[in-house]
Chain length 350, copies 2
C-alpha cells in the first residue's frame, strides 16, 4: 500500500525515518530500537498507558479476568481482507470473547526479520492501529525483536489479551447438556480459502476475502440477553469447525450431531473448496464462532446472531448418543463421523 | 541433555511420543497439536488453571495489575547457565518486578521451527518448568505455532506476565530526584559474555555462565522495607547498564553520574570483555537490576541487596548537573559521556 494511502487511513502522515528496512540494530535495545519505537510504534499506537514506556503497563481490575495469548505466523502477511496485524488484534480479542470476557487490553510483541521493508512494517502497524481502534481495545505494552535474514519470515506477532469476565458469563464445556443447540455465527471457511487462494495465485470471479473481525460485540449481546444459557463459545480458527466440535464432544463427554445442509458456506467458498479438495469443516476461520446454547433459548440466540450476520444458523445439537463423537448428517441422508483434523491442512494460516 | 537427566530434573519420566522431531502438523490445531500438548506440554506444566485448556485462563484480581510482554529469540537456545525456556520465564518475571509488581501468572507461546528435535524441545520445556516452579509463578495459558524449516530458528518463545502491584510500590522515573543513589544488584555483563563465548567457541579457565535468575524476591524485600523510597527499577538486559542509565536520565530529566571502580564486574568477565573488545556497560544482563533509591535509604537498600549478592554496590547518583546525560568517572580520574548503545553489539542476546 502506498505511503499516501496509509497516511489517509491513519489520518496523519507516516513517520519519516532515515532507514528503509529493518536491521539487526533495531532489535538491539539501543538507539535504533528507540528511534523505531519512539518515532514509529509509540507514535502510531499512542495511548496513555502505552505512553508510560515502562517495562509493563499498570492496569486496574476488580474481579475475574481472562488472560489469553496467541502468536501469529500467517503467510503471506498481506492477504485479501486483512493483514497479520489486524489478524493478531482480532484473534486475541476473539479468544477473550470466547472466555466470556469483555476485551480490555492487549500486549503486542514483534519478531521482525532483518531486511523487512519499512513500508511493509508500516502497513502492518496501521492494520494493528485500525483494528485496535475499531474494537476499542488499546495496545498497552509491547516488545520488538529482530532476527537475522533467513531466521524468521518477515513478521511474527504475539498478542496477549486481558478482559473482564462478563458478569453473566459462565462458559464451560462441562455445563453443556444433551439437547443444547449448536450455532455458528456466520459462513464458514472464508479465512482459510482466502489465504490459500492468494498463496496459490488462484483467481475467482470475485476475490474471496478473509473474515477476520472482532466478535466481542456479538458475544456481549448474547451474554447480556441470555446469560448462563450460553454454555460454550469457541472460535474455529486452526483446525476449523470440525476441530472445535471435537473439542466440545471430548470436553463435555457428550455426543455432537450436525446437519450438513444447515452449515452456512458461501457459494464461492464452496466452489473453491471443491476445486482445492478441501472440506470446509476443516478450513480455518477468523471471524465466526460456535456457540452452544440451552435449547429453549436457541431461537433467541439465533435472532441476535442474525442481527449481525444473516447467514448465522443453528447447525446441530448436543446428544446423549455416541458420546465424545461428532456425527454429521449429510445432504443426501448419510451419516459420517467427523474426526479432528488428522494432519496438517494449511500450514501457517494464522 | 539425556532423557534420563531430564527425567531426574522433572522427578518423573518424560512423555513417550511416537515422533522425534516437530513437524508442521504439530501446528495444525488438530490431532498432532493435541497430542503434543496433552502428552507433552500440559503434562509437564500442569496446574489447575492451565488444565482448564480453554482459550484463556480466568484469574482474579482486585486492584492494580502489571502487564508485560517479551519475545525471546536468543541463540544458541542452550548456553552456559540456562536455556531459552528459563530465560523466557525469568525475563518476564523480572519485567513485572521492575514495575513494582509481585509476579503471579505467565502465558507461554511457542513458535517452533519444523525439524526441531523433540529432545531439544523437552529440554526447553523442562527449563520452563524448573524456572516456573522455582519462582512460584505458574504458566496458565499458552499457544504453539510451527513454521517451515528455514523460516524460524528452532524455538522462539513469548511470555507475557501479570502481577499485583506491591502495596508500597511507587516506581516511576519522574519520582527520581537529584541526590538519589543508583544501585546495581550484582556483577554486570555475565549473560552477554556467556552467550558470546559459546557462540564464538571461546574457552576460559572456568566457564562464564549466564546470570539468568528471577529477581522478584529481592525487589519485594526492598519494597517491603523501603516502600516509596525505591523510586526506579529496571533490569539492564539488551543494551546493558548504559542503556538503562540513559533511559533513567532521559525519562527523569536529570543527570546521572557513575563511578567506574564501583561497578562490579567479575575478573573473568572483565578479562573476556577486554579480549572481545566489549565495554561491560553495554553487555546484556539477565539476573541483575538497577535501583534508584532515596539518598537517606541507600545504605539500607545496599544491605538488603548484599544479603542476596555480596557484590551488589552503589554505583553512582542522580544529579542536577548535565541533565539527561550519563557521565562516568573512570578509574584513572577521567570523565566520559556514556551514551546509549548506538548500533547492535550482540544480536539475539535474549
Amino acid at each position: 500500500m502506498s505511503q499516501q494511502k496509509l497516511s489517509i487511513q491513519l489520518n496523519c502522515p507516516l513517520p519519516k525515518l532515515d532507514f528503509d528496512v529493518i536491521t539487526l540494530g533495531h532489535g538491539s535495545g539501543g538507539v535504533l530500537t528507540h528511534r523505531l519505537l519512539d518515532t514509529g510504534v509509540f507514535n502510531i499506537l499512542k495511548n496513555d498507558l502505552l505512553n508510560e514506556q515502562h517495562d509493563g503497563a499498570i492496569l486496574n481490575f476488580n474481579g475475574p479476568v481472562a488472560f489469553t495469548t496467541d502468536s501469529y505466523v500467517v503467510t503471506p502477511i498481506f492477504f485479501p481482507g486483512g493483514n497479520i496485524g489486524e489478524l493478531a488484534v482480532n484473534g486475541s480479542i476473539n479468544d477473550l470473547a470466547m472466555c466470556g470476557a469483555v476485551p480490555e487490553y492487549l500486549s503486542l510483541s514483534f519478531i521482525l526479520e532483518e531486511g523487512l521493508r519499512m513500508d511493509e512494517f508500516w502497513e502492518v502497524l496501521v492494520g494493528i492501529k485500525k483494528a485496535s481502534d475499531a474494537s476499542g481495545v488499546p495496545i498497552v505494552t509491547g516488545d520488538t525483536k529482530v532476527v537475522e535474514r533467513g531466521k524468521g519470515d518477515k513478521v511474527f506477532i504475539n498478542t496477549t489479551g486481558l478482559g473482564r469476565i462478563h458478569p453473566k458469563a459462565n462458559i464451560h464445556a462441562n455445563r453443556v447438556k444433551p439437547g443444547d443447540k449448536i450455532l455458528v455465527s456466520g459462513p464458514v471457511a472464508q479465512h482459510g480459502v482466502a489465504i490459500l487462494s492468494v498463496r496459490q495465485g488462484l483467481e475467482f470471479e470475485t476475490t474471496i476475502t478473509s473474515d477476520t473481525q472482532p466478535l466481542h460485540t456479538q458475544v456481549i449481546r448474547l451474554l447480556d440477553e441470555l446469560g448462563e444459557d450460553v454454555r460454550f463459545l469457541r472460535d474455529p480458527t486452526r483446525g476449523g469447525v470440525a476441530t472445535v466440535l471435537n473439542e466440545l464432544a471430548t470436553q463435555s463427554g457428550h455426543g455432537v450431531e450436525i446437519i450438513q445442509k444447515d452449515i452456512p458456506v458461501s457459494e464461492q467458498v464452496e466452489g473453491a473448496c471443491e476445486l482445492l479438495g478441501l472440506d470446509p469443516l476443516y478450513v480455518a476461520n477468523e471471524g465466526i464462532f460456535i456457540a452452544v446454547v440451552a435449547e429453549h433459548k436457541a431461537n433467541d440466540a439465533l435472532s441476535i446472531l442474525k442481527s449481525f450476520d444473516a447467514s448465522s444458523s443453528i447447525i446441530g445439537n448436543v446428544t446423549q448418543e455416541h458420546p465424545r463423537q461428532v456425527i454429521q448428517h449429510s445432504r443426501i441422508g448419510g451419516r459420517r463421523i467427523v474426526s479432528m483434523l488428522p494432519g496438517e491442512q494449511l500450514p501457517r494460516i494464522c
